[in-house]
Amino acid sequence: MKITRISRIAALGAVAALALAGCASNEGGTSSNAPSDGPALSGELAGGGASSQEVAVQAWTAGFQGMNDGVTITYDPAGSGAGRESFQAGAVQFAGSDRAFKPEEIEAGPFDGCVEGTDILELPTYISPIAVIFNVEGVDSLNLDAATIAGLFAGTITTWNDPAIAALNEGVDLPDTAVSPVHRADDSGTTENFTDYLFASAPDVWTSEPDGVWPLSSGEAAQGTSGVVAAVAGGNGTIGYADASRAAEEGLSTAAVKVGDEFVEYSPEAAAAIVDESPFEDGRADGDLAIALDRTSDAAGVYPIVLVSYMIACQEYTDADVAPVVKAFLQYIASAEGQDAAAAAAGNAPISDSLREQVNSAIDLIAAE
């Protein structure tokens, strides 16, 4: 008697589990009108690298897997360094990295997942503006230029009512509070891009080379983007830098940065614009779209403090089966639909159409079928 009752309950549970498994959350999420050409794709892709792209990659994975049932994609956000190393070892088929490989690194190799003698592709598919956030009582918006920002973070400007800040902000009542710069304690692509901007635009105030690890020992350190945002929000007279999507969430005041003669607030369009204004690096292979960001550009409407993160893939894979899957995945990432899906989830800036054209011609170089 008891046995049959238990087996009845167990059978009911098994049926319920099997039925509910049919309602998996990553099916039918995005309405796709992108045609999946040819035979259905299948396979397993492993990727790894930058944690800055983590949320965007999740959105791309969900969208792509939704359109292609037979594909499974995994991404391990262990950091750009780890991602590049795994890609060179052939352990992952694509890598996310906050900086492109240096030419000497490409020369030295090896790239075990790619066919000997072929090139790698580096596609700038993730653009995220970095906002300068601050928390000063009574001040809601600020105009700052590169030299002033560098002075605030380097510790040469020590109070908020310094003449350098007052000169840029007519009519704003600046208090006498001490300036407390907050930076990232960990090795981060956000820090690397921010210090690159400071070094390129204000080299006489900011003399340290761009680095993922904050070069100065002054100022307050916080862990991760959320740590910086919390530290700035929790103090008075604090100023910091963080990924723009998170800064918007907390409702912190952000500074407008001087470009040419005007002050530009961060926005997805302005961030994408600076990438368009910047040239590609010379001396690289056709599929290697590493961008030399022109932080000192004074074109109209650009926001120079951005983080550009790359997707790295092989042009010719030693394992020919993964090539069509990687190609289709990268095409989805670069497409307007993919970029919008990521922007909705991660708050990054979708790439412009001109950049999309060049990324697509690079993706076409992948040898698949």
Binding site: S180, A221, G235
Partner: protein, 322 residues
């Protein structure tokens, strides 16, 4: 007429103990106790061997082999070791007098019912997870003490420990030490309470009979008896403070400078907090470097404990254990 005494039973060989009868229960229990004791030693040995083997590539690493090192391993670990010892020392400085006072109050001053309730509440403090303490520290304590730091730095900045500039968020090594002290107080209090209750009542009554006040009685009878116990309790608390990870990782603004200033935004990090924060994105030789810092922490803890034991053993004949 001679009397002959009956032959004496054969005497046991000189010095051999008389064996008690061993029942199965005795054998099982002694075997289990032996097994448990040796398991502890085996586990400790296994941890030590793991640490040593995994740290060897890290100890000899330089900037070329491990990207996490600016120059070499010893420059990397020195600020961390300093920060660990300094934060734990400050935490003990705050915690031990407080714990001894609370334990004395519970064992000698409070009425019985109040003593039991207070003891229960202090034990409850030990059950709070350390992450919760970290969140409390960063969200409540740091903003609350920041005005105090500001006042001290402005008015007493001449004192080397109070040198400015003052942190505007309050996330300094002194705040971290306060959070550590709150975590360590229940451990020390619980042990000290038991020790003070073990003081022989005869000693206490003798002191009182000679006309001592209650405080003099405590000084004469309780403290000498409990001194080694207080040191043991402090060592247990120090062990927790040295190894505390999440609370320090959340609260401290760690920039890696070696400084004694208590209220500045630049503070050395501690070894466990550094491992917790850096490990998720570490790879290759960097992992060996982090494990090597763990080995250094192991050695530091071992050294501090040995020092404490030596201090206690010097006065062994005065300890209340005999």
């Amino acid at each position: 007429m001679t009397t002959t005494s009956p032959p004496a039973p054969p005497a046991p060989p000189a010095g051999a103990p008389i064996k008690a009868k061993q029942r199965p229960g005795d054998r099982v229990f002694s075997g289990t106790a032996l097994f448990a004791g040796s398991m502890i030693l085996v586990t400790l040995a296994a941890v030590a061997i793991f640490l040593i083997i995994q740290s060897l590539p890290g100890l000899t690493a330089t900037n070329d082999t491990a990207s996490i090192l600016p120059t070499n391993f010893w420059d990397y670990v020195w600020p961390l070791a300093f920060g660990t010892v300094w934060a734990s020392f400050l935490a003990l400085l705050l915690a031990v007098p407080l714990s001894v006072a609370v334990a004395l109050f519970i064992s000698h001053y409070a009425p019985r019912r109040l003593a039991q309730g207070l003891g229960y509440i202090v034990d409850l403090l030990a059950a709070v997870p350390s992450v919760v303490f970290g969140l409390w520290g960063i969200l409540v304590l740091a903003p609350a003490v920041q005005p105090v730091y500001s006042w001290l730095v402005t008015n007493a900045g001449w004192f080397p420990l109070f040198a400015g500039p003052v942190s505007s968020t309050g996330r300094t090594i002194f705040t971290a030490a306060m959070v550590l002290a709150v975590m360590v107080v229940p451990i020390i209090t619980a042990i000290c309470r038991e020790i003070f209750l073990q003081t022989p009542p005869l000693h206490e009554e003798a002191a009182l009979a000679l006309g001592a006040t209650r405080w003099e009685m405590i000084k004469m009878a309780v403290f000498p008896f409990g001194r080694s116990g207080i040191v043991s309790a402090s060592m247990l608390g120090l062990g927790r403070a040295l190894g505390e990870t999440m609370a320090v990782a959340l609260v401290l603004s760690a920039t890696g400078v070696v400084t004694f200033s208590l209220f500045t935004p630049g503070n050395p990090s501690t070894i466990p907090a550094n491992i917790a924060l850096t490990f998720p994105e570490a790879y290759g030789t960097n992992i060996n470097v982090l494990i090597a810092t763990g080995l250094i922490l192991f050695i530091v803890t071992f050294a501090v404990n040995a020092l404490a034991r030596y201090i206690v053993n010097r006065r062994k004949e005065f300890s209340g254990a005999n």
